[in-house]
């Protein structure tokens, strides 16, 4: 049996004949039927034929019939050839005796707009669009924070005397990513110091694999805490390498034992600890 979505010539016979109705006002109504995506569609057109007579200079008319020559001799395109002739973008020509003034105004407006859209500065106190020092909430928001940090900063410095509190001295330089850290914030972890004992390294991944797919695969053994696929910085294309942090060493071990050397998305994964075990 034929499916409806794929009509054959045999089905086409079922379509009614096209109708042409001559209306009294000189127009014609054409009713036609056709199949589109398996649906029968009735198409009604109202057409008015208008005869336009255009008088052309006979010389121009003859020139219109000239055969092409030179580089265009063998060009069989009817009408303009897209290789040489294209339509450009629309251009404005508004004639006005105050043209210069209006153009200047327009330019200034554009400048203003571009300024409004580009958010170059953000206030650290309130997140507004101004310098922190010019913040209108400086006295209310900023004032509350300062004494807090001053009082809370002291015991922290006392307990860890080897690491001076960042930004405590007015003149000392604070790297941008460490600025504005509350005193209660945990001490910054160095990447090298991070506990990687439960992290697995998965190599030879299919580049089409996504974090969600990996999470699904590894959740059979436990609860993956963190799934990261290493990607190209520019193209965001997967480099076939992923790191999966499991919730415990036991589940990580189970996942490693089961999945290492197994196929996933038609690639054979190699699963290992992200760092060689110390013992």
């Amino acid at each position: 049996m034929m499916s409806i979505s794929n009509p054959s010539w045999a089905d086409a016979e079922e379509l009614p004949q096209n109708e042409v109705i001559e209306n009294n006002d000189g127009t014609k109504t054409i009713i036609s039927y056709k199949y589109t995506n398996g649906k029968k569609i009735k198409h009604t057109q109202k057409i008015k034929l208008v005869k336009v007579t255009e008088s052309v200079d006979p010389a121009v008319a003859t020139r219109r019939k000239w055969k092409r020559y030179g580089a265009e001799k063998n060009n069989k395109t009817v009408g303009p050839d897209a290789r040489t002739t294209q339509f450009g973008e629309e251009v404005k020509l508004i004639l006005s005796n105050s043209w210069a003034r209006e153009a200047k105004q327009e330019e200034e407006e554009k400048k203003k707009e571009s300024k409004a859209t580009s958010k170059a500065i953000t206030c650290r106190t309130c997140g507004g669009e101004h310098f922190t020092t010019k913040c209108p909430f400086k006295d209310t928001l900023g004032a509350e924070k300062k004494p807090e940090s001053a009082t809370a900063g002291a015991p922290a410095a006392g307990s860890v005397p080897s690491t001076p509190t960042l930004g405590s001295g007015a003149s000392s330089y604070v790297p941008p990513h460490l600025r504005n850290r509350g005193p209660g914030a945990p001490p910054l972890q160095d990447r090298r110091e991070r506990d990687d004992s439960t992290t697995l390294k998965v190599m030879n991944l299919n580049t089409a694999a996504t974090e969600d797919q990996l999470r699904q695969v590894f959740s059979r053994f436990g609860n993956p805490q963190r799934v990261t696929i290493v990607r190209n910085r520019e193209t965001r294309e997967s480099r076939g390498l992923a790191f999966i942090e499991m919730d415990s060493i036991r589940t990580a071990q189970a996942a490693k034992d089961t999945l290492d050397g197994k196929g996933f998305l038609s690639m054979i994964m190699s699963v290992d600890w992200s760092k060689p075990k110390k013992n």
Binding site: V60, R68, A71, R83, F87, V91, S96
Partner: protein
Amino acid sequence: MMRPIMMKGHERPLTQVKYNKEGDLLLTVSKDKEASIWYSSNGERLGTLEGHAGTIWSIDVDKDTHYFVTASADFTVKLWLAETGECLHTWYFDSPVKRVEFNHICDKVVIVTDQAMGQKASVRVLNVNQKDAKAQDDQAVLTITNEEDSKNKYSVAGWSYGDLYLIVGHANGKVSKFDAKTGELLQTVDVHEGLITDIQFSEDRSYFVTSSKDKTAKLLDVDNLHIFKKYGADAPMNSACITPVKEFVILGGGQDARDVTTTSSSEGKFEARFYHKIFEDEIGRVKGHFGPLNYVAIHPNGTSYASGGEDGYIRLHHFHKSYFDFLYDVEKTAQSQVNNLQKEIEA
């Protein structure tokens, strides 16, 4: 708003664009070795003229569009059959030919040869045999040589009304009028402070507009070479034309190609500028080219204009109704007064 037709038929900067008498054909020449012939209504290319060995500086067409004539840097002027693009005759010279123009009855052309290769610049008039195009007289019927230094060399030339005078523009900004029959120098005036890049005439050829590297264009009459109007711009101007139907002047130019890198393209001033011919105000601009405009030409019926740029593109703009509707307030009041008077007379 206008939707320009962009024609890319040349590899190198355009040097001249021109309509024929009816305006149905557009002729373009460039620094590559071919001339292109286009239908101006839709931008379709009819053909190319192949045969020159260097930059084609100038092109012209006779009033019946039977012949094209081109002037080239390969020291030649060529005559072509318009219908087939066949080269009928070649005139040879000793230096590059910068300009060529048919006279009104199309039995002569005026050419300008450059001051180069140890040759002095000259303006020459050649006879064009319309009946037997292959039998042309190789000798110029008139030669006007620049006897002064190279600063005074000729850059452009054209015929006045009735083919009576030759109007010649100099590299030092002077404009001269010569008797077209005898070659006698009738008048010279200081018009510009820089090279005169273009001279285009009004419909009746009784006045003309000059454009110059000194960032101005000026309107002069043929009889007295009196400067009537001055159109100031902010960049060197390469071309100017007088529009029929409307009282406008279109200027094209822009910063020189070699200086373009010193500014951003938005400030390169690569726009066609519309000035009111009488009031001298700039009334509009049309953007589009990426480089200076080397030539602007207006359709003989004033319905479209074409510009050829240093960027190798020809842009063909058909004017919309708003272009034809534009009037100054004074013009509007004057017109309504005339209408009222007419009504009164009829009553």
